[in-house]
Amino acid sequence: GAGVSQSPRYKVAKRGQDVALRCDPISGHVSLFWYQQALGQGPEFLTYFQNEAQLDKSGLPSDRFFAERPEGSVSTLKIQRTQQEDSAVYLCASSLGGVGEKLFFGSGTQLSVL
């Protein structure tokens, strides 16, 4: 596709439910990042992939958060047993090369946990 695509656009979950958020990066982009953006804040780093390798997951807030990119293209961010504090916009970004290059962001998935 022409840009980074994220789905779903909106997700409402009941507390305790598991959710899966999908990111389709720009074709050929090596690096993929997940960010969490709370209302009124800047994006906070969650995790980074270079191809299929997850090189940094230091930003994942708890072991309920899990991300994968098994074939080095599409990535999924999974949140288990969602809690209200997980409510945020989850942004995916990709770049052609490594860290520090231009990031192309998707429009995000807005997650609301009730």
Binding site: Y35, G42, L91, L103, G108
Partner: protein, 109 residues
């Protein structure tokens, strides 16, 4: 881990006015990126500055990188309603780009 501080947090001005927003750090930036984020969308890169003292212009936007590479500013001349959005600065920190909290700009017609 350095902390990126952006100011002001909010700015509301009339169309045609000039404005400046700031991004500061407790330590030296290796490089700095400025992004603009519109409601419901992801951030979009505006510019990357690398060299201390560097000035880059993008139409009505002027970006400056401090000589000591610890601060940066974004100046907008004759602001238009289309400039409304969240302006974010970001700096590489190991394996990620670390963002400030942003300046939320509203330009009223």
């Amino acid at each position: 881990t350095q902390l990126l501080e952006q100011s002001p947090q909010f700015l509301s001005i009339q169309e045609g006015e000039n404005l400046t927003v700031y991004c500061n750090s407790s330590s030296v930036f290796s490089s700095l990126q400025w992004y603009r984020q519109e409601p419901g969308e992801g951030p979009v890169l505006l510019v990357t500055v690398v060299t201390g003292g560097e000035v880059k212009k993008l139409k009505r936007l002027t970006f400056q990188f401090g000589d000591a590479r610890k601060d940066s500013s974004l100046h907008i001349t004759a602001a238009q309603p289309g400039d409304t959005g969240l302006y974010l600065c970001a700096e590489r920190d190991n394996n990620d780009m670390r963002f400030g909290a942003g300046t939320r700009l509203t330009v009223k017609p």
